[in-house]
Symmetry: C2
Subunit: 369 residues, 2 copies
């Protein structure tokens, strides 16, 4: 009943795969646009499909607080509720409990916190987080974990990891084997190699349907972040999908694909778009910059998004300067399309065995811009 | 070179027509979505086309101040700049000079004001406003007028109208006959029938390509507003398009179509959408209302907009309550589509001679909601 994962090609450690779910296939390496509250900010589901997204991410923390799991269940589940017909992965919300919620009280059994919306008391346990995601009807559920803060000593990181691993075991036990979705474990352990490897070992034994690397990009530098990916990703079971949570720039993704990661999510393309920062095949454009005022070229000549198909850098410059809603919308359509096209290029690179040439080209593009 | 206007059918005073421009036809009665600064707030040009818009409105005042006429001309004109390929009408900006600009100084020759953006000094004259719209390459240009304030005495309204009519004559003289676009005169005269009729008579003699009724919905009540339309519209030349500026609700449009008006624009569908007020075939929905939290029906069963095609009232309720950008986008897509479908219904009503039955149905719908 759970997902099926095939590896279609490899190139070094990089994998070209296919995750098959009840709501269709995900060609990997894949980028999952972030629809935290059930929608990618500024995009319709039709536009998201047209841009080539095969899977959307949503967030259990946010949806639990509003509109609530019961409301979504009553409305026929998360697919009917959001109108997104392809696969959906929900993050368990562990990260948000630790970054957004008020008056958080941890205990061995779970975490109690006050909603940042209305102050109401909410309790998350490994079991009820699994149950909530099952009720939503998601394709991929994530276990509840403790995303350790940064910086953290090795001792404290170890204590936190112990909790995360006990919770992972409870989540695995709670998972109903007849559910059509799948459950992923999450590797924590901060920047400590021993801890990361211990986490991998423990989670492996629990036989999840897939494995995520969490607790990255929480404040540590690029070098630490990349080291964690390099130690961890290749140790995860080769026959299961691997998901690097919350990353990142195109260069971060390129690096992680090279380490054998299959799935990604990041708010960056949409958030940067709203600030006028555009990703292109020529590198970064800060579109509000005065030099774009009369630039009649499209944002990216090779892009087929609704913006690049018809409009100039000058128009987007104008709309963003004027604070027009349409500026944010068009920039988002472009950046999300860029990320999805970028993943398609990486998939082709793995298939053709040209990933390292492609990597050089991409690195040059971004270091020059 | 100017537009061509044919009347295909009539039903009482109502007309079913076709305006043909260099950028394609406009089937009338038509609603022109408002893209003040070159884009309808929250919509791509592709979505606007898909919704069935045949003409977009933009605003000379706003575009003159930013990015400036020269910038748009350099970029190949307003169609290339905005990416909107169908007809464009620009309002001359008279209304905005009087509502937005600072330190306005009127004289017989024109008006000098400070930009509300950067305080720079700008001068509008009947001649330079015509010239600017020609440089933009619009399909329909509007003369510079003085939109009189409200309330206003008949004497002051008469003085203001005299100025507007002198400016109209100068604008008509300034219009280059070889320009592929067209120039519309604007009837002012506040709520005074004599003044409105005098304005019609004077403008008729100037032989514009079309005629607008301006200075409505500036604070006067529904009865006064409708009376102005009833006196004025039928007196305008029957063989030219008639445009009622800045109106209105579906009931306002229905009434004006019945008086023989052909063209409309209004920010209402998009602005109301952003506030969660949805137009539907069952009347108005205030989607943030708690009763929609678990309402699984589409906003409007009979609508084919991207929202109604896939999503429920419950989702829109959730997104608007959460202040999500996508809520505003989806609601705008719906409301603009609703207005455009509404106009298509009115066109069919005129063609089939069933406008009065349709009018009754629409009136019942909106008075019940």
């Amino acid at each position: 009943m759970a997902l099926n994962f095939e590896i279609l090609a490899t190139c070094g450690q990089a994998r070209r795969g296919r995750v098959t779910t009840a709501h269709g296939p995900i060609e990997t390496p894949a980028f999952m646009p972030v629809g935290t509250k059930g929608a990618v900010k500024g995009m319709t589901t039709q536009e998201l499909e047209a841009a080539g997204a095969s899977v959307m991410l949503a967030n259990l923390y946010h949806l639990s607080l509003r509109p609530g799991i019961e409301a979504i269940e009553t409305l026929g589940g998360i697919h009917r509720f959001t109108g997104w017909r392809r696969p959906i992965l929900t993050d368990s919300g562990g990260f948000q409990v630790f970054s957004l919620a008020k008056l958080r009280r941890m205990d061995a059994d779970g975490v109690t916190f006050r909603s940042h919306l209305d102050g109401s008391l909410v309790r998350f346990t490994p079991e009820n987080v699994v149950e909530a995601q099952c009720r939503l009807g998601v394709d991929i559920a994530m276990v509840l974990d403790e995303c350790s803060s940064w910086p953290i000593s090795q001792e404290d990181a170890a204590t936190s990891l112990d909790l995360t691993l006990r919770w992972a075991e409870r989540a695995r036990t709670a998972w109903p084997e007849d559910h059509p979705g799948s459950l992923f474990g999450i590797v924590q352990g901060s920047v400590y190699r021993d801890l990361r490897l211990r986490a991998v070992e423990s989670l492996r034994r629990l036989d999840f349907h897939g494995y995520a690397v969490g607790g990255v990009s929480v404040g540590e530098g690029t070098e630490d972040r990349r080291a964690v990916v390099e130690w961890t990703a290749p140790e995860l079971p080769a026959n299961k999908p691997r998901y690097l949570m919350g990353l990142g720039t195109p260069l971060d993704i390129l690096h992680a694909v090279g380490c054998g990661v299959d799935l990604f999510d990041c708010v960056m393309p949409a958030r940067n778009a709203r600030h006028g920062v555009l990703f292109t095949r020529q590198g970064i454009l800060r579109i509000k910059n005065a030099r774009f005022k009369t630039d009649e070229r499209p944002v990216d000549e090779a892009c087929s998004c609704p913006l690049c198909a018809r409009q100039s850098r000058a128009l987007l410059h104008h709309l963003m300067r004027a604070g027009e809603l349409t500026g944010a919308v068009l920039a988002t359509l472009h950046n999300v399309r860029y990320y999805l096209d970028f993943m398609a290029d990486l998939r082709e690179g793995v298939e053709l065995g040209t990933l390292s040439e492609l990597a050089q080209e991409i690195t040059d593009r971004y270091t020059a811009s």
